[in-house]
């Protein structure tokens, strides 16, 4: 009876861990899964596997990426992660005395907390699970010499996480087995000296693929609320869930240009930008489109904005630079797809073919890639496409140099290029308000009346006009508040 209870308790704890993890990732943090998925492009090719296996920790890296590709579908991603954490808990439980069963959730909790750092790659938990699995193989005491062979193989497959195996073996077999730790250290140094000429010692010792940023290490900060809020908004932008963004923005705001970019794009897509733009936090002149920032996240909402506006070249540039800012040198499925789309719209079929050929080797992008391949070179098909055809009509007809500092003019020209581009008109007027170009705003109100398609002057513009006419002295005016905040920022 007691044994039966213990068995149910064991299974029950694992089920609890599994359900907890699944609900956490699927219900609370699906955007975190999307975030991880968008910074890799797992390819189903031997070359891809061999490339990973050419470095220490490569198998864990490959397996981690293999799992992360399923994050494309949130439920599948959450399920994969739940299973991984259940495996971790079960393996830990096997190594602990039965009475310590509850302690088997400690590594789960620690790794879960560590994964709050967005740059921790799944290869780390995978490597830990593999190291524990290796311990559980339970090589007999008399065969302890087998570690002479196991350690180099394990180091190459899972990386420095093999230290977990080495330490537990020493604890299991006693101090006489300490030589294996020395052997492992020697192996790492030899690998550094002879097999890793293009890697720093620090990384050879601590892992090449556990963390996205080379020469940096995981932080124990858990799940930073503001950062994950921004990730959530980017996820919603990626999924084009505009209503959810507007709803979310009304509940919680993170005062950054990134947040403003996402919210403004959602407002524009719902044609609410002219009415409600200043009801929400505006970061400044960069609130509609951010300047170039060298990191892997900041430019994404601006890239999406460019895409929806019809500034196809800029969308391609921001996506390209975002992809190249992934410091572990991985491709991005999301960026590659968008780059290919930009190339299709611009009629650059040969370069698009390269991107499409790459995407065709992935699991979740290959469907789109196959469809896109059918369109290549078929002008009529692209022109008739609801998105690509529209963007061809919206994009610039004239060739001139992009200027971020003159974004209002860029947007004005975009609108002039095609007066059907109402989003460009909203952005144009919005940018002038952000910049404080009140003369321009007043001057081009005629465009709003003529082309805006509004039955009455949008509330946001009414407010701005009142504010301009009374030189900012309007109580409760959102635009007046913005102007005041900007003035204080410039002259604190």
């Amino acid at each position: 009876m007691k044994t039966g209870m213990a068995k149910y308790w064991k299974i029950g704890l694992s089920v609890l861990v599994g359900i907890g993890m699944f609900l956490f990732w699927y219900v609370v943090y699906p955007h975190a899964l999307s975030y991880q998925e968008q910074y890799q492009l797992f390819l189903w090719t031997w070359d891809y596997l061999l490339e990973r296996l050419s470095l220490p920790g490569g198998f864990a890296d490959w397996l981690g990426e293999f799992i992360v590709q399923f994050f494309y579908l949130e439920w599948l991603g959450a399920l994969s992660l739940a299973l991984l954490f259940v495996a971790l808990q079960r393996l830990t439980a096997r190594l602990l005395p039965e009475s310590w069963l509850l302690l088997s959730v400690v590594p789960v909790a620690l790794l879960w907390w560590l994964m709050g750092d967005i740059n921790v790659l799944l290869s780390l938990p995978v490597a830990v699970v593999l190291a524990l699995a290796l311990v559980c193989v339970r090589v007999r005491r008399s065969w302890s010499w087998a570690d002479v062979l196991i350690l180099p193989a394990a180091y190459w497959l899972i990386g420095p996480a093999v230290w977990l195996y080495a330490v537990i073996r020493v604890l299991q077999l006693g101090w006489k087995h300490l030589w294996s730790a020395g052997w492992l250290l020697a192996l790492q140094l030899m690998a550094y000296a002879w097999l890793l000429p293009q890697w720093p010692l620090q990384m050879a010792m601590t892992g090449l693929s556990y963390y996205r940023i080379p020469l940096h290490y995981p932080q124990w900060n858990g799940y930073d609320k503001d950062m994950y809020e921004l990730i959530r908004l980017d996820y919603l932008v990626r999924k084009e869930r505009w209503d959810d963004i507007v709803k979310r923005a009304s509940e919680y705001q993170v005062k950054t240009p990134f947040w403003s970019n996402c919210v403004n794009l959602a407002l524009a897509e719902k044609r609410l930008l002219a009415d409600r733009m200043f009801d929400f936090y505006q970061s400044g002149e960069d609130a509609l489109v951010m300047p170039r920032v060298r990191d892997l996240t900041s430019m994404l909402p601006s890239a999406e904005t460019f895409w929806h506006l019809g500034m196809v070249n800029s969308a391609q540039r921001y996506m390209f630079d975002t992809q190249e800012s992934i410091l572990n040198g991985r491709k991005s499925g999301r960026c590659t797809k968008r780059i290919a789309e930009c190339m299709l719209v611009n009629g650059h079929y040969q370069t698009a073919a390269k991107q499409i050929a790459l995407l065709k080797k992935s699991l979740f992008y290959c469907g789109w890639a196959s469809e896109a391949e059918q369109m290549m070179g078929d002008e009529a098909k692209i022109n008739a496409h609801p998105v690509y055809g529209k963007l061809r009509r919206l994009r610039y007809k004239d060739n001139f140099l992009y200027s971020y500092d003159e974004m209002d003019k860029m947007l004005g020209l975009l609108f002039q290029n095609n007066p059907e581009n109402k989003m460009a008109l909203d952005y144009f007027m919005g940018q002038m308000l952000l910049k404080g170009n009140v003369q321009g705003f007043v001057q081009f109100m005629g465009w709003v009346q003529q082309y805006g398609g509004y039955r009455q002057m949008p509330l946001g513009y009414q407010d701005a006009m009142r504010c301009i006419q009374s030189q900012g002295k309007v109580q409760g005016s959102p635009y007046a508040n913005y102007v005041k905040r900007m003035t204080e920022r410039r002259h604190p």
């Binding site: 720093p200 070249n313 540039r317 001139f400 140099l401 992009y402």
Partner: protein, 488 residues
């Protein structure tokens, strides 16, 4: 048991043979085969890697290729693509040096074989003599370098080796690797941005120099060794990019200032000339074969990027006395950019002193980003120039360099897709005739180039394999130890 083993071997052999079908009564067609890369009628050195090629139509089932040398020898391959054995290829090319190889291509599709018109590949009398090529591989992006690396490729095989990659110096942008007339016992490389500097490696000893001083505007970039091996000419500039809204050229690269200086690597002294430190933009220095002249390009300053179309570079030269380490006092203008409404940059004199190859475009001082950049050749005996129509295309041709014997040159071109630069080699004879260039061979070229997401730039020949201790580079870069230079 022995019989069983032999029977098994026999069965496997029969099975394999039955899988590789041979041309059987092929239909003869009078057209040349559509192969990738286009190696039809190219001239190659005997010591180049096999010119493997694919059939452009991917729907074929097999290819059967026979290569016959007019001085003897034959190769026969049969498979998905023409994949020659390296040793057999070299035996054939060595035997036919100065002659030609005739290639017969048959393809099988839906059980039907087609035989195309034969084509020739000419094997030059001139050998390469260099071990390989060095080049940088970088994504053809915009303002973020990403996962870049400097690599070397053995030209007699398909082997590529990393010299230095992003993984050893994460987040750093490096380029402008330059050896002395293909000899890597003198090597320089620049790293931009935080912790940047100029690496000077002499006879395997690596030092990092901070070339920016109070009297110079920036650290050195585009460089060129003096043939004597003690001086390095450097352009000192600030490079930027602007972006077009149209669907043609994507990027306009421009410099807000640029000067030229020479670093004496024995004393770490900078040698300046007021003629090269003007408000004009002096750029892309290159010493003549005897080191007595320094070629460079110069343009008048204008408000870039707005006036990008006004950037017209002239090609100039100034005397340099290596004994005294001083410049001459006059500048010769060889090609006048504003007067001809062109821009002349990237002067590369051949090491035998016979030719000067350079880029011509309608504007700008960064030809790889100019679609209309073409290669031109100046005869240094007569001073006459001509466009190299044999190899130019509507896309950019640039980044050319000579082999040590000056009979071969490498250049980069965007001819295939307008974005991903690839490397081409061609030969030049005594009369300045240029052969049809050939794309750098790869084991499976179609697969390789389709999957290659990098652009090649700054290619150069290397006489021997480059030896650079990347671990030492990491230490020096991150410890930020720099030797400071003085002005002479």
């Amino acid at each position: 048991m022995k019989h069983l083993f032999l029977s098994l071997c026999l069965c496997v052999s029969v099975f394999l043979l039955s899988c590789s079908s041979r041309p059987d009564n092929p239909t003869l067609v009078s057209q040349l085969p559509a192969i990738y890369p286009d190696y039809i009628g190219v001239t190659i050195p005997a010591d180049i890697a096999p010119l493997n090629f694919n059939f452009s139509d991917e729907a074929i089932d097999r290819m059967d290729v026979i290569v016959k040398g007019d001085k003897g020898g034959e190769l026969h391959v049969n498979g998905e693509w023409a994949d020659f054995d390296i040793d057999e290829w070299h035996a054939l090319t060595e035997q036919n040096q100065g002659g030609k190889l005739t290639v017969t291509v048959c393809t099988e599709k839906d059980g039907q074989w087609t035989q195309y018109k034969d084509f020739d590949i000419f094997v030059s009398e001139a050998r390469l003599d260099d071990w390989g090529l060095t080049y940088r591989r970088i994504k053809p992006g915009y303002e973020v370098g990403g996962d870049i690396g400097i690599y070397q490729r053995e030209l007699g095989s398909f082997d590529e080796y990393a010299i230095i990659t992003e993984s050893v110096v994460p987040g750093r942008c490096f380029n402008c690797h330059t050896a002395n007339r293909t000899n890597p016992n003198r090597l320089t490389m620049q790293m931009r941005g935080e912790g940047g500097g100029t690496m000077i490696q002499k006879d395997g000893h690596q030092t990092w120099v901070e070339t920016k001083t109070d009297s110079t505007k920036a650290a050195g970039s585009y460089s060129y060794w003096h043939p004597q091996g003690d001086y390095v000419a450097l352009a000192v500039n600030s490079v930027h990019q602007a972006f077009f809204t149209g669907t043609g050229q994507r990027i306009e690269v421009y410099h807000t200032f640029s000067n030229v200086e020479v670093l004496d690597t024995r004393t770490n002294e900078l040698i300046l000339s007021p003629l090269l430190q003007t408000d004009d933009l002096e750029i892309f220095p290159a010493f003549s074969h005897d080191g007595r002249w320094l070629y460079y390009s110069t343009s008048k300053p204008c408000r870039v990027p707005a006036e990008y179309e006004k950037v017209k570079c002239s090609l100039c030269r100034i005397a340099f006395d290596a004994e005294k380490g001083v410049f001459g006092e006059t500048v010769d203008t060889l090609l006048n950019g504003p007067a001809t409404d062109k821009s002349y940059v990237l002067a590369r004199p051949s090491y035998d002193g016979r030719w000067l190859m350079y880029c011509t475009s309608s504007r700008g001082n960064f030809p790889v980003s100019q679609n209309d950049a073409d290669l031109w050749l100046m005869d240094l005996k007569t001073g006459e120039s001509r466009e190299l129509k044999e190899l130019n295309t509507p896309q950019s041709e640039s980044y050319h360099n000579w082999s040590e014997n000056s009979r071969w040159f490498v250049f980069s071109s965007k001819r295939e897709d307008g974005m991903y630069t690839k490397l081409y080699l061609a030969t030049i004879d005594e009369q300045g005739r240029i052969s049809k260039p050939f794309l750098l061979p790869q084991r499976n070229p179609k697969k390789f180039y389709r999957e290659m997401m990098d652009a090649y730039n700054c290619p150069d020949f290397t006489k021997t394999k480059v030896s650079l201790d990347a671990h030492e580079t990491y230490r020096q870069v991150f410890e930020n130890k720099r030797e400071h230079v003085k002005i002479r």
